[in-house]
Symmetry: C2
Subunit: 214 residues, 2 copies
DNA sequence: AGACTGGTGTTACCGCAAGTAACATGCGCG
DNA sequence: CGCGCATGTTACTTGCGGTAACACCAGTCT
Protein backbone atom coordinates (compact mmCIF):
# COMPACT_ATOMS: atom_id res chain seq x y z
CA UNK A 1 0.00 0.00 0.00
CA UNK A 2 2.38 2.70 1.14
CA UNK A 3 5.25 0.99 -0.58
CA UNK A 4 5.84 3.84 -3.00
CA UNK A 5 5.41 6.38 -0.25
CA UNK A 6 7.85 4.61 2.02
CA UNK A 7 10.26 4.33 -0.86
CA UNK A 8 10.03 8.03 -1.54
CA UNK A 9 10.62 8.90 2.04
CA UNK A 10 13.46 6.49 2.33
CA UNK A 11 15.03 7.86 -0.80
CA UNK A 12 14.88 11.38 0.46
CA UNK A 13 16.21 10.25 3.82
CA UNK A 14 19.09 8.54 2.10
CA UNK A 15 19.82 11.63 0.08
CA UNK A 16 19.87 13.72 3.23
CA UNK A 17 22.08 11.18 4.88
CA UNK A 18 24.54 11.35 2.04
CA UNK A 19 24.56 15.14 2.11
CA UNK A 20 25.22 15.09 5.82
CA UNK A 21 28.04 12.65 5.37
CA UNK A 22 29.62 14.83 2.75
CA UNK A 23 29.39 17.83 5.02
CA UNK A 24 30.93 15.80 7.82
CA UNK A 25 33.62 14.76 5.42
CA UNK A 26 34.52 18.34 4.67
CA UNK A 27 34.71 19.21 8.35
CA UNK A 28 36.84 16.20 9.19
CA UNK A 29 39.11 17.01 6.31
CA UNK A 30 39.50 20.49 7.74
CA UNK A 31 39.50 19.92 11.50
CA UNK A 32 40.77 16.39 11.83
CA UNK A 33 39.29 13.69 14.05
CA UNK A 34 38.22 16.07 16.81
CA UNK A 35 35.56 17.70 14.66
CA UNK A 36 32.57 18.59 16.82
CA UNK A 37 29.00 17.70 16.11
CA UNK A 38 28.11 21.37 16.19
CA UNK A 39 30.69 22.14 13.52
CA UNK A 40 29.45 19.33 11.31
CA UNK A 41 25.85 20.41 11.73
CA UNK A 42 26.78 23.99 10.91
CA UNK A 43 28.68 22.89 7.83
CA UNK A 44 25.62 20.97 6.72
CA UNK A 45 23.47 24.05 7.32
CA UNK A 46 21.39 22.42 10.02
CA UNK A 47 21.55 21.78 13.75
CA UNK A 48 22.64 18.97 15.98
CA UNK A 49 19.47 16.99 16.70
CA UNK A 50 19.11 16.14 13.03
CA UNK A 51 22.49 14.53 13.03
CA UNK A 52 21.48 12.53 16.05
CA UNK A 53 18.25 11.47 14.40
CA UNK A 54 20.19 10.17 11.42
CA UNK A 55 23.17 8.58 13.08
CA UNK A 56 22.18 7.89 16.65
CA UNK A 57 25.30 9.26 18.25
CA UNK A 58 28.75 10.48 17.35
CA UNK A 59 30.04 6.95 17.09
CA UNK A 60 27.36 6.19 14.53
CA UNK A 61 28.31 9.15 12.40
CA UNK A 62 31.96 8.25 12.65
CA UNK A 63 31.24 4.66 11.74
CA UNK A 64 29.23 5.70 8.67
CA UNK A 65 31.92 8.12 7.64
CA UNK A 66 34.67 5.61 8.18
CA UNK A 67 32.85 2.98 6.18
CA UNK A 68 32.84 5.20 3.10
CA UNK A 69 36.56 5.80 3.13
CA UNK A 70 37.37 2.31 4.22
CA UNK A 71 35.38 0.83 1.37
CA UNK A 72 37.03 3.16 -1.12
CA UNK A 73 40.51 2.36 0.11
CA UNK A 74 39.82 -1.35 0.20
CA UNK A 75 38.63 -1.21 -3.38
CA UNK A 76 41.90 0.37 -4.47
CA UNK A 77 43.88 -2.19 -2.54
CA UNK A 78 41.91 -5.07 -3.99
CA UNK A 79 42.59 -3.77 -7.46
CA UNK A 80 46.32 -3.60 -6.82
CA UNK A 81 46.29 -7.02 -5.23
CA UNK A 82 44.46 -8.55 -8.17
CA UNK A 83 46.52 -7.03 -10.95
CA UNK A 84 48.06 -9.40 -13.48
CA UNK A 85 51.68 -9.51 -12.36
CA UNK A 86 53.92 -11.69 -10.29
CA UNK A 87 53.74 -11.88 -6.57
CA UNK A 88 56.45 -9.44 -5.69
CA UNK A 89 55.15 -6.83 -8.10
CA UNK A 90 51.69 -7.11 -6.70
CA UNK A 91 52.88 -6.77 -3.14
CA UNK A 92 54.78 -3.66 -4.10
CA UNK A 93 51.80 -2.24 -5.98
CA UNK A 94 49.57 -2.80 -2.96
CA UNK A 95 52.01 -1.14 -0.59
CA UNK A 96 52.38 1.76 -2.98
CA UNK A 97 48.63 2.14 -3.33
CA UNK A 98 48.19 2.32 0.40
CA UNK A 99 51.00 4.79 0.90
CA UNK A 100 49.78 6.97 -1.93
CA UNK A 101 46.34 7.08 -0.37
CA UNK A 102 47.48 8.09 3.08
CA UNK A 103 49.90 10.56 1.59
CA UNK A 104 47.18 12.21 -0.46
CA UNK A 105 44.82 12.81 2.46
CA UNK A 106 46.54 12.55 5.79
CA UNK A 107 43.61 14.10 7.66
CA UNK A 108 41.27 11.41 6.48
CA UNK A 109 43.85 8.82 7.28
CA UNK A 110 44.25 10.16 10.80
CA UNK A 111 40.53 10.11 11.25
CA UNK A 112 40.31 6.50 10.18
CA UNK A 113 43.20 5.30 12.27
CA UNK A 114 42.91 7.39 15.40
CA UNK A 115 39.23 8.20 15.81
CA UNK A 116 39.93 9.52 19.30
CA UNK A 117 36.65 8.30 20.64
CA UNK A 118 36.18 9.30 24.22
CA UNK A 119 33.00 7.63 25.38
CA UNK A 120 31.82 9.48 28.48
CA UNK A 121 28.09 8.60 28.37
CA UNK A 122 27.65 8.10 32.07
CA UNK A 123 29.12 4.93 33.44
CA UNK A 124 29.43 2.97 30.24
CA UNK A 125 33.03 2.50 29.21
CA UNK A 126 33.76 2.12 25.56
CA UNK A 127 33.80 -1.27 23.95
CA UNK A 128 37.54 -1.45 24.25
CA UNK A 129 39.29 -3.39 21.55
CA UNK A 130 36.33 -3.95 19.31
CA UNK A 131 35.92 -0.49 17.87
CA UNK A 132 39.51 0.61 17.90
CA UNK A 133 40.64 0.57 14.29
CA UNK A 134 38.10 -1.15 12.11
CA UNK A 135 40.01 -0.33 8.98
CA UNK A 136 43.08 -2.22 10.08
CA UNK A 137 41.01 -5.20 11.04
CA UNK A 138 39.16 -5.27 7.77
CA UNK A 139 42.33 -4.91 5.77
CA UNK A 140 43.92 -7.68 7.77
CA UNK A 141 41.02 -10.06 7.23
CA UNK A 142 40.84 -9.23 3.57
CA UNK A 143 44.52 -9.81 2.99
CA UNK A 144 44.32 -13.02 4.99
CA UNK A 145 41.64 -14.28 2.67
CA UNK A 146 43.67 -13.48 -0.41
CA UNK A 147 46.71 -15.18 1.02
CA UNK A 148 44.80 -18.23 2.00
CA UNK A 149 43.11 -18.47 -1.40
CA UNK A 150 46.23 -18.11 -3.46
CA UNK A 151 49.04 -19.64 -1.49
CA UNK A 152 49.69 -23.22 -0.61
CA UNK A 153 50.78 -23.05 3.00
CA UNK A 154 50.32 -26.65 3.97
CA UNK A 155 48.53 -27.79 7.13
CA UNK A 156 47.33 -24.98 9.38
CA UNK A 157 47.52 -22.67 6.41
CA UNK A 158 44.30 -20.89 7.27
CA UNK A 159 45.40 -19.75 10.67
CA UNK A 160 48.81 -18.90 9.30
CA UNK A 161 47.22 -16.78 6.60
CA UNK A 162 45.22 -14.81 9.13
CA UNK A 163 48.24 -14.12 11.28
CA UNK A 164 50.15 -13.01 8.23
CA UNK A 165 47.30 -10.87 6.96
CA UNK A 166 47.10 -8.88 10.14
CA UNK A 167 50.85 -8.83 10.56
CA UNK A 168 51.55 -7.52 7.09
CA UNK A 169 48.83 -4.91 7.36
CA UNK A 170 50.28 -3.80 10.67
CA UNK A 171 53.73 -3.56 9.16
CA UNK A 172 52.39 -1.46 6.33
CA UNK A 173 50.44 0.74 8.69
CA UNK A 174 53.18 1.41 11.20
CA UNK A 175 55.80 2.01 8.56
CA UNK A 176 53.41 4.29 6.70
CA UNK A 177 52.54 6.22 9.84
CA UNK A 178 56.16 6.77 10.68
CA UNK A 179 57.05 7.63 7.10
CA UNK A 180 54.21 10.11 6.85
CA UNK A 181 55.48 11.91 9.92
CA UNK A 182 59.18 11.98 9.20
CA UNK A 183 59.51 11.51 5.46
CA UNK A 184 62.85 9.76 5.80
CA UNK A 185 62.91 8.51 2.24
CA UNK A 186 60.97 8.37 -0.98
CA UNK A 187 57.84 6.33 -1.31
CA UNK A 188 59.46 4.01 -3.80
CA UNK A 189 62.33 3.27 -1.46
CA UNK A 190 59.97 2.56 1.40
CA UNK A 191 58.00 0.17 -0.75
CA UNK A 192 61.12 -1.66 -1.81
CA UNK A 193 62.45 -1.87 1.73
CA UNK A 194 59.23 -3.33 3.06
CA UNK A 195 58.99 -5.83 0.25
CA UNK A 196 62.58 -6.83 0.94
CA UNK A 197 61.65 -7.41 4.54
CA UNK A 198 58.77 -9.62 3.53
CA UNK A 199 61.04 -11.44 1.14
CA UNK A 200 63.25 -12.68 3.91
CA UNK A 201 66.20 -10.34 3.69
CA UNK A 202 66.17 -10.08 7.47
CA UNK A 203 66.97 -13.75 7.83
CA UNK A 204 69.42 -13.71 4.95
CA UNK A 205 71.48 -10.77 6.12
CA UNK A 206 74.96 -11.46 7.41
CA UNK A 207 76.15 -10.65 10.91
CA UNK A 208 78.15 -7.57 11.48
CA UNK A 209 81.79 -7.82 12.44
CA UNK A 210 82.50 -8.10 16.14
CA UNK A 211 79.68 -10.12 17.63
CA UNK A 212 76.75 -12.47 17.16
CA UNK A 213 74.20 -11.16 14.76
CA UNK A 214 70.79 -9.85 15.65
CA UNK B 1 72.55 27.60 50.41
CA UNK B 2 69.04 26.29 49.91
CA UNK B 3 70.35 23.19 48.18
CA UNK B 4 69.27 20.85 50.97
CA UNK B 5 65.94 22.59 51.29
CA UNK B 6 65.28 22.40 47.60
CA UNK B 7 66.33 18.76 47.68
CA UNK B 8 63.93 17.99 50.49
CA UNK B 9 61.09 19.70 48.76
CA UNK B 10 61.92 18.11 45.51
CA UNK B 11 62.07 14.72 47.13
CA UNK B 12 58.67 15.11 48.71
CA UNK B 13 57.30 16.44 45.45
CA UNK B 14 58.71 13.45 43.65
CA UNK B 15 57.17 11.12 46.20
CA UNK B 16 53.80 12.77 45.75
CA UNK B 17 54.19 12.58 42.05
CA UNK B 18 54.88 8.90 42.24
CA UNK B 19 51.89 8.34 44.51
CA UNK B 20 49.68 10.23 42.12
CA UNK B 21 50.98 8.20 39.22
CA UNK B 22 50.25 5.01 41.06
CA UNK B 23 46.73 6.15 41.79
CA UNK B 24 46.30 7.09 38.14
CA UNK B 25 47.63 3.69 37.26
CA UNK B 26 44.99 1.97 39.31
CA UNK B 27 42.22 4.05 37.74
CA UNK B 28 43.46 3.44 34.23
CA UNK B 29 43.74 -0.24 35.00
CA UNK B 30 40.12 -0.17 36.11
CA UNK B 31 38.49 2.31 33.70
CA UNK B 32 40.68 2.08 30.63
CA UNK B 33 42.01 5.01 28.65
CA UNK B 34 38.97 7.23 29.20
CA UNK B 35 39.68 7.61 32.90
CA UNK B 36 38.70 11.11 33.99
CA UNK B 37 40.85 13.51 35.92
CA UNK B 38 38.18 13.65 38.61
CA UNK B 39 38.30 9.90 39.02
CA UNK B 40 42.06 9.86 39.26
CA UNK B 41 42.06 12.68 41.78
CA UNK B 42 39.43 10.90 43.85
CA UNK B 43 41.43 7.69 43.75
CA UNK B 44 44.46 9.58 44.98
CA UNK B 45 42.34 11.09 47.78
CA UNK B 46 42.74 14.65 46.53
CA UNK B 47 41.12 16.99 44.04
CA UNK B 48 41.79 18.02 40.50
CA UNK B 49 43.91 21.17 40.74
CA UNK B 50 46.70 19.25 42.43
CA UNK B 51 46.96 16.96 39.48
CA UNK B 52 47.18 19.97 37.23
CA UNK B 53 49.88 21.51 39.38
CA UNK B 54 51.94 18.36 39.06
CA UNK B 55 51.37 17.43 35.46
CA UNK B 56 50.22 20.57 33.69
CA UNK B 57 47.35 19.03 31.84
CA UNK B 58 45.86 15.69 31.03
CA UNK B 59 48.37 15.10 28.28
CA UNK B 60 51.17 15.62 30.77
CA UNK B 61 49.75 13.07 33.16
CA UNK B 62 49.21 10.63 30.35
CA UNK B 63 52.72 11.17 29.08
CA UNK B 64 54.21 10.57 32.52
CA UNK B 65 52.10 7.47 33.00
CA UNK B 66 52.92 6.17 29.55
CA UNK B 67 56.62 6.73 30.08
CA UNK B 68 56.63 4.43 33.11
CA UNK B 69 55.05 1.54 31.31
CA UNK B 70 56.88 2.20 28.10
CA UNK B 71 60.23 2.16 29.85
CA UNK B 72 59.36 -1.03 31.67
CA UNK B 73 58.23 -2.77 28.52
CA UNK B 74 61.23 -1.58 26.57
CA UNK B 75 63.53 -2.94 29.26
CA UNK B 76 61.95 -6.36 28.95
CA UNK B 77 62.22 -6.23 25.19
CA UNK B 78 65.83 -5.17 25.29
CA UNK B 79 66.61 -8.07 27.57
CA UNK B 80 64.98 -10.53 25.21
CA UNK B 81 66.71 -8.96 22.26
CA UNK B 82 70.12 -9.14 23.92
CA UNK B 83 69.90 -12.72 25.18
CA UNK B 84 72.70 -15.07 24.17
CA UNK B 85 71.05 -17.13 21.46
CA UNK B 86 70.86 -17.17 17.71
CA UNK B 87 68.92 -14.66 15.69
CA UNK B 88 65.74 -16.58 15.21
CA UNK B 89 65.50 -17.54 18.87
CA UNK B 90 65.98 -13.97 19.91
CA UNK B 91 63.32 -12.72 17.55
CA UNK B 92 60.91 -15.27 18.91
CA UNK B 93 61.79 -14.41 22.48
CA UNK B 94 61.18 -10.74 21.80
CA UNK B 95 57.83 -11.39 20.18
CA UNK B 96 56.85 -13.62 23.05
CA UNK B 97 57.88 -11.04 25.62
CA UNK B 98 55.76 -8.41 23.98
CA UNK B 99 52.73 -10.64 23.66
CA UNK B 100 53.05 -11.83 27.23
CA UNK B 101 53.11 -8.24 28.41
CA UNK B 102 50.02 -7.12 26.55
CA UNK B 103 48.24 -10.31 27.52
CA UNK B 104 48.97 -9.76 31.18
CA UNK B 105 47.54 -6.22 31.33
CA UNK B 106 45.35 -5.43 28.36
CA UNK B 107 43.95 -2.27 29.95
CA UNK B 108 47.39 -0.79 30.31
CA UNK B 109 48.17 -1.84 26.80
CA UNK B 110 45.03 -0.15 25.49
CA UNK B 111 45.94 2.98 27.34
CA UNK B 112 49.40 3.05 25.83
CA UNK B 113 48.28 2.35 22.30
CA UNK B 114 45.01 4.26 22.05
CA UNK B 115 45.31 7.20 24.43
CA UNK B 116 42.21 8.78 22.87
CA UNK B 117 43.46 12.29 23.30
CA UNK B 118 40.95 14.87 22.13
CA UNK B 119 42.56 18.26 22.46
CA UNK B 120 39.84 20.93 22.59
CA UNK B 121 41.83 23.77 24.22
CA UNK B 122 40.27 26.56 22.26
CA UNK B 123 41.11 26.72 18.61
CA UNK B 124 44.28 24.66 18.69
CA UNK B 125 43.97 21.32 17.00
CA UNK B 126 46.11 18.52 18.26
CA UNK B 127 49.59 17.97 16.98
CA UNK B 128 48.45 15.26 14.66
CA UNK B 129 50.91 12.48 14.07
CA UNK B 130 53.51 13.51 16.59
CA UNK B 131 51.77 12.42 19.75
CA UNK B 132 49.83 9.49 18.46
CA UNK B 133 51.52 6.37 19.73
CA UNK B 134 54.85 7.19 21.31
CA UNK B 135 55.37 3.63 22.40
CA UNK B 136 55.27 2.30 18.87
CA UNK B 137 57.65 4.96 17.69
CA UNK B 138 60.12 4.33 20.46
CA UNK B 139 60.00 0.59 19.93
CA UNK B 140 60.51 1.09 16.23
CA UNK B 141 63.51 3.34 16.69
CA UNK B 142 65.02 1.05 19.27
CA UNK B 143 64.66 -2.02 17.12
CA UNK B 144 66.05 -0.10 14.16
CA UNK B 145 69.13 0.69 16.14
CA UNK B 146 69.66 -2.91 17.14
CA UNK B 147 69.23 -4.06 13.58
CA UNK B 148 71.60 -1.48 12.25
CA UNK B 149 74.20 -2.28 14.88
CA UNK B 150 74.18 -5.99 14.43
CA UNK B 151 73.38 -6.66 10.83
CA UNK B 152 75.41 -6.01 7.77
CA UNK B 153 72.89 -4.63 5.31
CA UNK B 154 75.24 -3.08 2.80
CA UNK B 155 74.85 0.44 1.41
CA UNK B 156 71.77 2.30 2.62
CA UNK B 157 71.64 -0.07 5.56
CA UNK B 158 70.76 2.62 8.03
CA UNK B 159 67.60 3.72 6.30
CA UNK B 160 66.71 0.13 5.63
CA UNK B 161 67.10 -0.69 9.31
CA UNK B 162 64.77 2.10 10.32
CA UNK B 163 62.11 1.02 7.90
CA UNK B 164 62.41 -2.52 9.12
CA UNK B 165 62.36 -1.49 12.75
CA UNK B 166 59.09 0.34 12.40
CA UNK B 167 57.66 -2.27 10.08
CA UNK B 168 58.44 -5.18 12.34
CA UNK B 169 57.12 -3.36 15.38
CA UNK B 170 53.94 -2.58 13.50
CA UNK B 171 53.57 -6.19 12.47
CA UNK B 172 53.98 -7.29 16.06
CA UNK B 173 51.56 -4.66 17.29
CA UNK B 174 48.77 -5.31 14.80
CA UNK B 175 49.02 -9.05 15.10
CA UNK B 176 49.06 -8.76 18.88
CA UNK B 177 46.08 -6.45 18.91
CA UNK B 178 44.08 -8.78 16.75
CA UNK B 179 45.19 -11.84 18.68
CA UNK B 180 44.29 -10.22 21.99
CA UNK B 181 40.78 -9.57 20.75
CA UNK B 182 40.02 -12.86 19.09
CA UNK B 183 42.41 -15.34 20.62
CA UNK B 184 42.53 -17.41 17.44
CA UNK B 185 45.51 -19.48 18.53
CA UNK B 186 48.05 -20.00 21.25
CA UNK B 187 50.74 -17.48 21.93
CA UNK B 188 53.45 -19.89 20.87
CA UNK B 189 51.80 -20.50 17.54
CA UNK B 190 51.41 -16.81 16.90
CA UNK B 191 55.07 -16.25 17.69
CA UNK B 192 56.13 -18.99 15.34
CA UNK B 193 53.87 -17.77 12.55
CA UNK B 194 55.21 -14.24 12.75
CA UNK B 195 58.79 -15.40 12.84
CA UNK B 196 58.07 -17.55 9.80
CA UNK B 197 56.74 -14.49 8.04
CA UNK B 198 59.90 -12.56 8.84
CA UNK B 199 61.96 -15.50 7.69
CA UNK B 200 60.63 -15.25 4.19
CA UNK B 201 58.11 -18.02 4.10
CA UNK B 202 55.76 -15.67 2.26
CA UNK B 203 58.13 -15.47 -0.68
CA UNK B 204 58.99 -19.14 -0.51
CA UNK B 205 55.44 -20.47 -0.45
CA UNK B 206 54.19 -22.19 -3.57
CA UNK B 207 51.23 -21.07 -5.60
CA UNK B 208 47.94 -22.71 -5.10
CA UNK B 209 46.51 -24.89 -7.83
CA UNK B 210 44.40 -23.13 -10.39
CA UNK B 211 45.95 -19.73 -10.87
CA UNK B 212 48.85 -17.37 -10.38
CA UNK B 213 49.95 -17.09 -6.79
CA UNK B 214 49.46 -14.10 -4.56
C1' DA C 1 57.69 37.05 68.07
C1' DG C 2 55.98 38.55 63.44
C1' DA C 3 56.04 39.20 58.34
C1' DC C 4 57.43 36.42 54.08
C1' DT C 5 57.65 32.53 51.14
C1' DG C 6 56.29 28.36 49.00
C1' DG C 7 54.08 24.10 48.65
C1' DT C 8 49.50 21.60 49.61
C1' DG C 9 44.90 21.63 49.56
C1' DT C 10 40.16 23.33 48.95
C1' DT C 11 35.54 25.27 46.70
C1' DA C 12 33.52 27.36 43.07
C1' DC C 13 33.52 28.58 38.67
C1' DC C 14 34.14 28.94 33.12
C1' DG C 15 33.87 27.02 28.53
C1' DC C 16 32.74 23.50 25.63
C1' DA C 17 30.97 19.36 23.64
C1' DA C 18 27.72 15.29 23.70
C1' DG C 19 23.22 14.29 23.92
C1' DT C 20 18.11 15.27 24.85
C1' DA C 21 13.44 17.15 25.59
C1' DA C 22 9.89 20.10 23.92
C1' DC C 23 8.09 22.89 20.83
C1' DA C 24 7.31 24.59 15.84
C1' DT C 25 6.47 23.86 10.82
C1' DG C 26 5.49 22.01 6.21
C1' DC C 27 3.38 18.18 3.62
C1' DG C 28 0.28 14.28 2.03
C1' DC C 29 -4.22 12.10 2.98
C1' DG C 30 -8.83 10.52 4.73
C1' DC D 1 -10.53 20.33 7.85
C1' DG D 2 -7.93 17.61 11.14
C1' DC D 3 -4.57 13.90 11.49
C1' DG D 4 -0.23 11.88 11.18
C1' DC D 5 4.62 12.34 10.38
C1' DA D 6 8.98 13.64 9.19
C1' DT D 7 11.93 17.78 9.51
C1' DG D 8 13.57 21.42 11.78
C1' DT D 9 14.30 24.51 15.74
C1' DT D 10 15.57 26.50 20.61
C1' DA D 11 16.83 25.64 25.04
C1' DC D 12 18.34 22.60 28.32
C1' DT D 13 21.09 18.99 31.12
C1' DT D 14 25.20 16.51 32.17
C1' DG D 15 29.88 15.77 32.43
C1' DC D 16 34.60 16.82 31.50
C1' DG D 17 39.02 19.58 31.05
C1' DG D 18 40.93 23.43 32.99
C1' DT D 19 41.36 27.63 36.07
C1' DA D 20 40.83 31.30 39.47
C1' DA D 21 40.57 32.53 44.20
C1' DC D 22 41.11 31.63 48.65
C1' DA D 23 42.85 28.77 53.08
C1' DC D 24 46.35 26.22 55.67
C1' DC D 25 50.78 24.87 57.34
C1' DA D 26 55.69 24.41 57.22
C1' DG D 27 60.12 26.62 57.68
C1' DT D 28 63.05 31.24 57.18
C1' DC D 29 64.71 35.80 57.65
C1' DT D 30 65.20 40.04 60.52
Amino acid sequence: MDTTQRTDQQRSADRRRRELLEAADRVVLRDGPQASMNAIAAEAGITKPILYRHFGDKGGLYAALAKRHTDALLDSLRAALDAPADRRERVEATLDTYLTAIEARPQVYRFLMHPAEGGQPGDQGFDVGKHSAPLLRRMGEELAQVIEERLDLGPGGQRLARVWGHGIVGMMHAAGDWWLGERPCSRAELVRSLADLLWGRLAAAGDRVGGPGF
